[in-house]
Amino acid sequence: MTELVVGTKKGLFLLEGEPGSDYEIKVRAFAGQPVDFATRDTRSGRLLATVTSPFYGPKIFYTDGDPDAEWEQADGVALPEGGDWALERIWVMARGEVDGTVYAGGDPGVLFESHDGGACWELNAGLWEQPSRSHWQPGGGGLCLHSICTWPGDPDKLAVAVSAAGIWLTEDGGGTWRRGNQGLNPSYLPEEALRDENAGRCVHHVERAPKQPDRMFMQFHGGVYRSDDAGASWTDIGGGGLPSDFGFPLMVDPADPDSAYVIPLVADMDRVTPDGRVRVYETRDAGSHWAARGDGLPAEHAYLTVLRQAFSRAKDGGQLELYFGATSGDLFGSGDAGSTWSTVATRLPPVFSVVAI
């Protein structure tokens, strides 16, 4: 049985089911509110949700019990008082390597840490105090920290990605950070602007290969990239069969460091699936070749948009399950590593995030 934790524009949904069979919606929580991201920490069983009320601002909530009942508001999810910045949104959460550690990334390019499973949070000062921060440029969705890549077995190593302030790397647990943007080619910038390291590096999503942690994959704003040196430098792998190198989400098979999956969209000015067909593209050779995986997905007049957090996986290898949701409210799943797909749910509110447990 797989649990899907789905954040939508109008609430949190929990679904349960098996690949290829019907999934049942078990819970709807935060009715009417935008749930930007939600997940369950499998170590504790705790559900965590980030909710950005248009009236009351972004909050993190958690529950250890019945998700239909009251949720607790987490403490410390705020920027320093009296400054020029306010927290706009929490985009993502990720479990750390140490039991009880959870990270949260948000706008304006901030990282929060919790060491009690998500009840109390504190701002990562090293990233907050980056001297270049005042020059960081926001992407279309704001100055969002949307990707948090831990390093299996080493809690000191972390990579985060900020749109459009690029990749930031730490090897001392977040005390100090350095950029990791070498090789990225923002074709939307004039060539002279590339010399300015603060000019927009619009990273859309980053994942690390758990079995070979110095290998990472990135969906860029026009480009798909691979790093073999833990995010310090990047090689373009966006050719080789992709219909477009624009898109948002990206996923990997934890069992195979050469694997990655993307869901291309036409282009930045037309953010829908190409040719009216929904297709996931898979590489098993680290990006040299990409193959379409669309068996069971809508193949005609389907102009879907899949957001950066709306792609997830469970298990690995031959049992790899993949799930993604679209702003159309459709949710799709595969129980065979993307070879075949089925519809998990339709007519949900616009899907912001999917986490498969």
């Binding site: 601002g57 009296g82 910045w85």
Partner: protein, 86 residues
């Protein structure tokens, strides 16, 4: 003392009461006083910059006001989510 009126989730966070008699010379001072009495309200009306959130409206005796609006004893301050959307 002025009276600060809250509703919806703010009422729940403010101890379940809609009306709160508080001291303060401005709307912002009253809202800070409300946070002191009910810490759960912190961050819901006023953001980290000390500004009333963009989509929250404040009315003083029925007139639209802001954080710096002066208040006097007996004034009534309504805190309302804005009507937003199309």
């Amino acid at each position: 003392m002025a009276v600060v009126c809250v509703r919806g989730p703010l009422r729940r966070l403010a101890g379940g009461r809609a009306e709160h008699e508080l001291d303060g010379a401005t709307v912002l001072e009253l809202l800070r006083a409300l946070e002191l009495c009910h810490p759960a309200v912190e961050g819901w009306i006023v953001d980290e910059r000390g500004q009333i959130r963009r989509h929250i409206n404040v009315f003083v005796n029925g007139e639209r006001g802001g954080g710096a609006t002066a208040v006097r004893s007996g004034d009534r301050v309504e805190v309302l989510p804005a009507i937003t959307g199309g």
